[in-house]
Amino acid sequence: MTDVLLVGAPNSGKSALFNRLTGLKHKVANYPGITIDVGKGHLTSNHQVTLWDFPGTYSLNPVSAEEQVAIASLRSALQEPHDALVAMVLDATRLEKGLTYCLQVARDAAIAGKSFVVFLNMMDLIESDALELDVSGLSAALGVPVYPVSARTGAGVAEAERAIQQAGLVVAPWADTPDALITGTAQQIGERFAPAGDLLVRRQARLDQWLLDTLSGGLTFVIIMTLFFQAIFTWAAPLMDGVEALVIVIGSTVASVMPEGVVADFINDAIFGGLGAFLVFVPLVFILTLIIGALEDSGYLARAALICHRPLSVFGLSGKSFVPLLSGVACAIPAIYATRTLSSMQERLLTYVAIPLMPCSARLPVYALLIAILIPNETALGGLVGWQGLVMSGIYFFGITTALTVAALVGRMSNEDRAGQPFILELPAYRLPVARTIVKTALNRAGHFVQKAGSVIFAVTVVVWILGYFPNGGQDLSSSWLASIGRFIEPVFSPLGLDWRYGVAIIASFLAREVFVGTLGTIFGIETADKDPAPLADQITASGLTVASGAALVVFFTIALQCVSTVALLAREAKSARFAVALMAGYLVLAWLTAFGVYQLAGALLS
């Protein structure tokens, strides 16, 4: 036997077991439908044996596009001519849930002549609660070997691993069972062998009474989400600054040993600038994955989805979109990764549509500059309310509202009965997260980002550097190729009352939105604009930027998807470069049109 096909219902602990058996970095989570790709690995004890981790489904009757793909891939694997073993993972604490699917697959495997075993997972819970489960009786009823295991503690895994490599495995005796009989048989077996009593359900219900209650549950939700948000917004910041500083130090050290000139500049600014451009996101991706992993594993994420479902369903989104959207307020990169917890691609795409419009932290310096230009630094109500702060809140509110509205419109356009999508979510048992697994997943995710999105971000950074550096050796940005492009596209921005300088800053801000501030600083000759926007704001005001144009810029930045990292990652995660480019183009057009409307309106009101 060279292949083991691992199958099971969502939340059966299948991926955790896969991790145990292969020692491979593979996503494991206590959340239904997390495994979307078919995982592949080798037994740690025998590298000749390949393990395939098929996406969890509740039966062989697909109800979504992903399940259709998953089931088709399982069926074609069963048809492969070589020897393979099908291993069904069942949750011992929720035995009845997986048995229909178990018998369906056992039958298909039998027809294909493949042997079949059952891994009875979560036996640690059965034992710790002194529940009774007749494993040999279950094995006799199913007609196949049943191995009691615990993917969490590792108990029984080595024995099961040895057993499946020995001869004497059997084909399940269900080849001739018609569909109509399978459900009934599964039900009978389930009723006979499932642990008696509802101890586990009652224990879970007690926690749910607290965590899903309107008052205590609402409060807990707000606390958890505040901590979550703090973690990605505040705690990751020092790490991000650290990475940035480190890259700069290494870059300038390397450049300092080289003769001054284009090569040194290229290495320092383009190569290390390009590296820094995506490495800076790595701590963010790592921390967010860590926290979401803990939330998933503990079982809380499913509850959070339940709590958020109703308000988000108004916008055609599911409750599961909440965490990705919240992450988007910090940064779209980890937010895009967070959508992996959504099981259907349609839900994910709609969330991808909303995420780039969430007011991410890279927009903050841009808003701070523009607000300093547009709004006097004065207070009202005896110093209680600052006008600048109030406008900032207004901009955030506008961004979030736009995100939800656009999602609602796109959802309605792409599927007319979007509102008719059923909400069926399994609530997994509460468990303590396993640190080893979530740290491994977070490291893996950070590595994925570097590999998959890093090269694109790096390349674009280098190209923009070249455009800004030549032909005059970085002496004067206003006579560079970048400035020529800015002048060439000036007609695009002149209807908004903006000249080429803003066009250049907008192009440069595709590297990261906050680059807008630094670029304008360079053009206006104020190099410290990144640290303190006030002198630059004064300079820009003096240069005659009108309030209407400033307001148009704010609106443009709230909508435009001008972030190469986001586009690169979207293309990867949506598995469609077309989708990512179309979204970028669409939001640029929408941003321009809205900005133009605001410019006209503000101009009319102020004149």
């Binding site: 109800v63 929720r94 849930k97 642990p195 359900v201 059923p422 069926i424």
Partner: protein, 82 residues
């Protein structure tokens, strides 16, 4: 025997399922049947979070949250409260 939509089942109450989806057989019906909502099975309402949020039901040792329209695909027996 009068049947009631599952959504009307009171917290803590259990009832027998009398039908799932009636004559329709769409994806939601299929999924409900797959996860154990079948004729003759006992279903318990575990939680009714406020503000019309999806409710929590226990069946076959597992718990699921269903929104109103999905819960109402399932009809239960007896005098459901409310």
């Amino acid at each position: 025997m009068p049947s009631h939509p599952l959504w009307e089942l009171a917290v803590g109450d259990s009832r027998e399922i009398v039908s799932v989806g009636g004559d329709t057989a769409d994806d939601a019906v299929q999924r409900l049947i797959d996860i154990g909502f079948r004729e003759g099975q006992q279903v318990t309402c575990v939680m009714q979070p406020g503000f019309g949020a999806p409710r929590v039901y226990a069946i076959g040792g597992a718990t699921y949250s269903l929104d109103k329209q999905t819960a109402n695909i399932v009809r239960i027996a007896g005098e459901a409260d409310r």
